[in-house]
Amino acid sequence: MSKSIEYVKKELPHEIKTIGYVLLITGFIIVILGYMTDITRSLYNNIIGFTFLVSIGVGSLFFVSLEYIAGAVWSTPFRRIIEFLSSIIVILPLIVLPLLLNVNTIFGWTHPADSLMKAKAPYLNINFFIVRVIVFWLFWVGFYFLIMKNSVKQDRTKDQFLTKANIKLAGIFMPVFAVTISLAAIDWLMSLAPKWFSTIFGVYYFSGTVLAALATGTIFIVLLNERGYLTSGLKRDHYYSLGALLFAFINFWAYIAFSQFLLIWYGNLPEETVWFLARWHGDWKLFSIGLLVIHFVVPYFGLLSQPSKMNPKTLLIMSCWILFAHYIDLYWLVMPNFYKEGIIFGWIELGFPILIAGIIILVFYYRASRTNLVAIGDPKLERGVDFRL
């Protein structure tokens, strides 16, 4: 049973680098122009972009940790791809910088007016806010470096102790992740409406995070596997597991979203319903219904059947769709605080998506050029490649 996995490191085509740069620069220019034109609107788009990248970056790190701590084998052959995506964590400071410089403009709690706002001031104040942003990022980047280092080192040494070390790191990271991702969601998304609160909000953002990370990972995995870059070769069984996870988390997102909605609708308390009413006002009504269709109905039926979960083309399309849906979700969370009458869409809104696409491609490209695409030293690799349902 000891057949060695042959891995031939293939260079990713240079066109990818070109595409990445084109997107990056185009996006960057649009963003700069946007800031020069309408700062507040750009800032809100910035928040969407930032939380979107956090989802993918930190979500990917979550997945890597999950594999270690659960002892899963089916994901080992492509874990390295997810690790590359978690590198996004490193460049997060660049995206958050404009936000930190303009906290006063974005957040209403920077000017607490009444006693209710003052009661929240111990948490919602600029200093503590910035400290949190920095500390959370330090946690994320710290765990990223440690886990990544061990995983890459294992390529050379094939030392099983490194797996054990990563399992320990993953175990510590999990509670850290739970707290930091929830508070990040509360800080960046929930406090945009500072008088509103919902205990499930952290879980809501988490469900979107998992989906975004999974979807992005699936896109890269399918594209690379179908073109033979993962010479260990993933089979239908691996695709099915990815598809099943995507399907499961689509349902989970819908469950969390519906729970939040139903309880607030049912209780009918004005301090809570105001948030949903804002998203039912004017154009936002159509958008809310659209979100349900885009984020739940379409992917649900798209990934329901067994064959669809195994088909790489379907997985690719559905993953792109789900990423789009996640962006829409974040837009729905953020924008109604800014523009109350309805959907606002113009060239400014395109800036960050294009920029982000460029960032993801380039980050991945540069990591892939220096590191193996498959974790060839991982002891579970052989079992992972042999994985059958």
Partner: protein, 456 residues
């Protein structure tokens, strides 16, 4: 400790039992007569049940006044027990359905038993919504049948949703359990020499003949049932949580209740299943089928769900403070320092502290420690439901309406009776049906599957 080799798969079934020996081993309890230990266990559970029957009779005859319930604490032990038992039922479905969907082979040794526990737990739970009515003989009114009262049930009420959820859950679990039993009943049919038993097994195995043309559809249906049972189990405890969360009571109206309750249900359910399995594997000598690795994995699930419960506690407390609303903040101060502080702190230590010990491999693999932690978890989870229900009700918005709740001996007798009810069914089950799924276990034994021809 010993270092693990990650290149090797941990065997699900240990030892070198042959397929035929499995038949003998698993069907033995259904063939042999019960021994003295069995009768002792049964008499204990029957006495507990008897105590509950006394309590119930008094309740029916004299009314709910026999309990400690008052206004404003109109729900106390009754609903605490209801949520507790429904929660315990969830572990079984999770093991059968969710672990099946996740392709975790280690579930095969424990799924039959766990599903049986689900059914008995749901039956026990179903008693409480009926007995807590002032006029339980009118319980049929909860169903929307055409009637002459010119009135339908109120479909916007979570209590009605409960009716649908719990009955659906019971029915689907029963069907799922039965579908899994069909091949095993056929095995018993082939082995038995007792004429009456042969007739019974023949009828209930429906004439199953192990044909692969049937296995193909059977596998698909099992997958579909598992695929349905998974969201079903999540929905049932979600709907139970809605009983509280749709209100506007501080401490109850919290959007995180649905996943929080589901995690808590799996948490307490796994703890009881783990406890009972420790006893079962010892008594029936199934240690190589219900292995220590299986128990360790269950403890990991207990650790995971316990952490989710701990997260929910923290998030609730934080957001209660964050909301700035004084009654919300008061709820948690009251829980920690008020008249039910003892119950609160028992809950926190049992649910948050003790399960975290499972980070340590030594504790995860120690039978004595895990058994003790399992019991603590159950105590803690019962306390959690009690704390949520009673503290929020006894002290809500208007201090002039505050009132303390004290349980009566009838409350306790019904609680003890519910355990008696549950364990009686469980004991009868172990003698009547195979407690391990014979066909599923055989399918995961080393060497039981073909090695060629499986390239996709």
């Amino acid at each position: 400790m010993d270092s693990v080799d990650y290149t090797v798969e941990i065997p699900v079934i240990e030892g070198k039992t042959t397929l035929g020996e499995f038949d003998e081993l698993i069907s033995r309890p259904t063939i042999t007569n019960p021994d003295r230990k069995y009768y002792i266990a049964l008499s204990i559970s029957l006495s507990m049940l008897g105590l509950g029957v006394i309590g119930l009779t008094l309740t029916f005859y004299y009314g709910i006044g026999m309990w400690g319930n008052n206004i404003p604490v109109a729900w106390a032990f009754d609903i605490t027990n209801f949520v507790f038992w429904v929660g315990i039922g969830h572990a079984g479905t999770l093991i059968s359905a969710i672990l099946f969907l996740l392709r975790q082979k280690w579930r095969t040794g424990i799924s039959r038993f766990a599903e049986g526990m689900t059914i008995f737990a749901v039956m026990t739970a179903g008693i409480f919504p009926i007995i807590h009515l002032g006029r339980p003989w009118l319980a049929g009114y909860l169903f929307p049948y055409p009637n002459q009262h010119a009135l339908w049930v109120n479909f916007t009420s979570p209590l009605v949703w409960d009716v649908f959820a719990v009955s659906t859950y019971f029915t689907v679990s029963l069907i799922f359990w039965y579908v899994g039993l069909i091949p095993d009943l056929a095995v018993l049919r082939e082995r038995t020499v007792n004429k009456i038993k042969k007739i019974i097994y023949s009828i209930f195995s429906l004439g199953w003949r192990f044909s692969n043309r049937h296995w193909q559809h059977y596998d698909m249906v099992y997958l579909i049932l598992a695929g349905f049972a998974t969201p079903l189990v999540l929905s049932v405890h979600t709907i139970v949580s809605f009983d509280f969360a749709v209100s506007i009571l501080p401490g109850w109206h919290s959007t995180i209740f649905p996943p929080y309750f589901v995690a808590g249900a799996v948490f307490s359910g796994f703890a009881i299943v783990q406890n009972v399995l420790i006893l079962v594997r010892k008594i029936f000598n199934y240690e190589h089928i219900i292995t220590l690795n299986t128990l360790e994995r269950m403890n990991k699930v207990i650790l995971l769900t316990g952490s989710m419960v701990a997260y929910s506690y923290l998030m609730e407390m934080f957001i209660a403070w964050y909301s700035g609303i004084q009654p919300e903040r008061f709820v948690f101060i009251n829980r920690a320092l008020g008249p039910y502080a003892i119950e609160f702190w028992i809950m926190v230590s049992c649910n948050v502290l003790f399960p975290q010990l499972f980070w340590f491999k030594k504790i995860r693999r120690s039978i004595k420690m895990m058994f003790a932690i399992g019991i603590f978890v159950n105590v803690g989870m019962w306390m959690e439901r009690f704390v949520i229900i009673v503290t929020s009700l006894s002290r809500d918005f208007l201090p002039s309406s505050w009132h303390h709740f004290t349980p009566t001996w009838v409350d306790f007798s019904i609680l003890i009776g519910s355990f008696g009810f549950f364990f009686t069914w469980l004991l009868l089950f172990t003698k009547a049906l195979p407690v391990v799924s014979i066909a599923e276990v055989k399918a995961v034994v080393k060497g039981s599957q073909p090695t060629h021809g499986i390239h996709s």
